[in-house]
Amino acid sequence: MALEGTFEDMSLVDLFQIFRTGNKSGVLLVVGDTEQGVIYVYQGCLIDAVLVQGSERKVTQIGEEAVLCLLRWEDASFTFRHDLAVKDRPVRIQHDSEWLSLEALRRRDRPLRLLAHQQITLDTQLSLAALPATAQGGVNLNLDQWRILSQIAISQNLHDISAQTGMAPEVAIRTVTELVAVGLVDVAPPPVRPARLIRLPVPTHQPPMVPALAGMRALTGMAAADVGEVSAGRGLLHAIMRKIRRL
């Protein structure tokens, strides 16, 4: 029972958000090319971390510095295992994960690389990320980041934000990229889809004796062009619901 993946699938900042919002406890093992990191999480908070190198597992960083190193990694695999025994571990991390993510961003000497699902364009719709009540208040943002944040709730997309703030589009995109990367802003889901009329197909064949074949016949029967359609009755849907409840 574990959450497993790579930083291609999910960033470390995303993992920290999951830990926080889900109040998770356990051990996160991060495996890079030559180094390995371990982060201990208790009730959603990062409490300790260790970075080790080589086969002799020499400790190179501990605590917040270990987390800040791991936040710079772009290619690694991870496994998070639930483990309540972490509560007995000494706490060597004082800041929360938002602060650490922003600090890692400040120390960064290369442009940020977002994952595929986080790609930002001027048409991207944004929303403020939900932060838990336990998040610290002392998050330091620069002026551009504040200007973007102030417009998110009242603007349709990044194009509007750029126009409202007078910020050049490339600066707006870069700033939003930073805010998304540290988990303060989310890419909003698409709006509600237009409603559709649901129809039920009526197969023209008789039900065969063997249930398995009935399904196959239904499948092929429904695919045939001569199958008519009628509007689904609310009564039929309710009958299905009643049957499922009784199962």
Binding site: T21, I198, P203, I244
Partner: protein
């Protein structure tokens, strides 16, 4: 006899076979074969190569059929056939494998080209304490606000019933607004 079809789809090893098996009234017709691909073998030892099929008799006149799509991409051609005539579908996603999210997003986009039937997303393996929360899965899959994303435990009958009831309620809502 009226045949009503619901499709259960999802990426490789999302738990589709278990989902259908949990509620089917017949011994489920499944086409499981040993996995031979080394990458896939790391995830599970048997896989569905054609389709899973389950059945629930509603009354003397109507039967609900549950069809599970094969998860392997080389069987994608089956999706169009399976989606024809379905009243709705469930997109199942493994909450403990973030790699599934990108695959599932692509699958949802592809499936939407075959059918405009209503669908819901079921976040499977929510009994695992490390599972990604439903809200994160909604965010990552960019699920529209009007489409339910519900928790699921694919091998638990009550949980699967709850997912199917959510889908049916969503279908009814779509029907009403249509």
């Amino acid at each position: 006899m009226q045949a009503i079809k619901i499709v259960v789809t999802g990426a490789y090893a999302a738990g589709k076979t278990s989902f259908i098996r949990a509620v089917s009234e017949i011994d489920m017709v499944s086409t499981e074969y040993d996995v031979t691909n080394p990458d896939e073998l790391a995830i599970k030892t048997e896989t569905t190569v054609a389709l899973d099929f389950g059945m629930i008799a509603i009354n003397d006149e109507s039967t609900l059929y549950l069809f599970g799509t094969p998860g392997q991409s080389r069987f994608d051609f089956m999706w169009e056939i399976l989606s024809l005539g379905c009243i709705g579908y469930v997109v199942l996603v493994d909450s403990c494998r973030p790699a599934h999210l990108n695959e599932t997003a692509a699958l949802m986009a592809a499936f939407a080209t075959h059918t405009s039937a209503p669908f819901i997303v079921a976040a499977n393996k929510q009994d695992d304490p490390t599972a990604l929360p439903v809200s994160y899965i909604r965010k990552r899959l960019h699920v529209p606000y009007d489409v339910p994303v519900v928790p699921c435990i694919g091998n638990d009958r009550e949980s699967v019933k709850s997912v199917l009831l959510s889908l049916l309620a969503h279908i009814e809502q779509s029907f009403s607004s249509g």
